[in-house]
């Protein structure tokens, strides 16, 4: 039994008009062998759109909130470090 497992899964396809939609998700699971504990992170990855003429397009599902939060926190931390360095140089 693996400790950390990451896999991409595909769901059932749905037909909407001329489009066939296939949802995809990414699962990151952590299970510690010997211990009865685990952690599962499941998030939407993309939607595969197939048109009636056979063209296939992958639409990524971006978590804008998560990206914004991490960007803000990283910039705040970086800004604080830079500010500290600038004060020291002066």
């Amino acid at each position: 039994m693996s400790v950390i497992k990451s896999e991409i899964k595909k769901g059932d396809s749905r037909q909407v008009g001329n489009f066939k939609l296939t949802p995809m998700n990414q699962v990151l699971s952590v299970q510690i062998p010997g211990y009865h504990a685990g952690w599962v992170w499941n998030r939407p990855k993309a939607v595969v759109v197939r048109t009636s003429d056979g063209q296939e397009r992958v639409l990524p599902v971006t978590d804008v909130t998560r990206v914004a939060i991490w960007t803000l926190l990283a910039s705040g931390l970086l800004g604080a470090i830079l500010m500290g360095l600038l004060y020291r140089v002066r």
Binding site: A37, G38, V40, W41, P44, L59, T62, G76
Partner: protein
């Protein structure tokens, strides 16, 4: 004469409950958990998506003992078992898939409150560092002996 140990049926039942709970938690990795039921409105279909985070843990234990050493004339035996556990499932909307005859698009769901809190925290980092540095500069010099 010693008492016979009766198999603990409640422990088996407890294990079954734990097993079922663990299976329910592991079901959180399914695609259907992340993609909600499609909502049809005229020619347009809307599929809500969410991220799911779940954590769980449990423990079980059992033991038995006898008092034959302490009281050899009237020894007694006993056993017991117990278990406990806990877990949490967190879910958060991420985006909405809109499929219409014109095309398919993914509309993000933006949580302004969380972003604002992260922004305030970032400003807090910088203001805190600024105060720390300015207070260090204005501090009185050490008295030389």
């Amino acid at each position: 004469m010693t008492d016979e140990i009766i198999p603990n049926k409640s422990a088996e039942a407890g294990l079954e409950v734990i097993q079922n709970t663990m299976e329910e938690f592991l079901a959180a990795s399914d695609v259907r958990v992340v993609y909600g039921e499609p909502i049809l409105h005229d020619d347009t279909m809307i599929i809500p998506t969410a991220e799911v985070l779940c954590a769980f843990g449990f423990g079980i234990g059992s033991g038995s003992g006898s008092t034959s050493d302490e009281n050899p004339e009237k020894p007694s035996q006993g056993s017991g078992s117990g278990g406990g556990g806990g877990g949490r499932i967190l879910s958060r909307p991420v985006a909405v898939v809109v499929a219409s005859p014109e095309g398919v698009r993914v509309e993000p769901v933006v949580d302004i409150t969380k972003i604002a809190l992260a922004g305030l925290t970032a400003i807090g980092f910088m203001v805190g560092m600024m105060f720390r540095m300015s207070s260090r500069r204005h501090a009185l010099p050490d008295i030389e002996e």
